[in-house]
Symmetry: C2
Subunit: 134 residues, 2 copies
Amino acid sequence: MSGEGTRNAKVPMKEHFGNYMLPIKDALEIFSGKWKIPIITALNFYEKCSFKELERIVEGITPKMLSKELKFLEENMLIAREVKDTRPVTVEYSITEYGKTCRSVMTELYRWGIEHRKKFFNTEEAETWGKGKC
Amino acid sequence: MSGEGTRNAKVPMKEHFGNYMLPIKDALEIFSGKWKIPIITALNFYEKCSFKELERIVEGITPKMLSKELKFLEENMLIAREVKDTRPVTVEYSITEYGKTCRSVMTELYRWGIEHRKKFFNTEEAETWGKGKC
DNA sequence: TATAGTAGTATACTAAAGTATAGTGATATG
DNA sequence: CATATCACTATACTTTAGTATACTACTATA
């Protein structure tokens, strides 16, 4: 990255930058919006959850949004949905192996968020949990 | 993370999860939307850019959105704005030291996006640039 | 029989995000 | 003098994201 950042380099930078942005844009499509990352994070944390549990864990989400985002995440193979033969019927949402690959992204966001919090709120409170491992 | 993911642990999980989500939500507030990450990535790549250059580099952005997002990023100290005494006047936007800390996040998104692309489009094309270093 | 819990869906709405298009005021260039 | 570049701003609009509220169908429990 550093040193390549001038516009007079031999190879057109725009091409390099485009190549770099392309997968980032792919990732953003998956993670965009208010709820996808919280849901993925929750399922990475708890491994398995029912619909109602997710409704409680992901604070503030409405059933409509939860339902919609779960469908999206299932289509993208990040989570799995299994209807359990219980009474009343429960549905188990679980993180897939593929979904677990998101952990590296969440961890980076977590680390960055910790530092941001230190910088802007001048507090280390948030550091009490996890220390960015996970 | 693994092994702690049961709801029967001694300490209420919700509290743990909340502590984990808090900085992630902080980070999401900064990175949310269609344009912030592309702009930050561009300035991390080129180090310095004028308004017009950014308009060209960040493909598809309108001057209104660019202006709005640049203001936001400046307020959050990720970028700096300097009016140059040239004719016509140019404005130099540059990444700050703090803005450079975002690179770890972008790099993770890049890596994840590469793998996602492999999985979903079955192509390794995107791997031609950078190999996730940067 | 009333109440509560399961997993959602339906409808209507608001608010935010983003787009499209044009224009400003300064200065320089042909 | 006409045109172009710079850094934006203004206005109006559309689209999407998200909210609020109510409801369905099923089963269990008091």
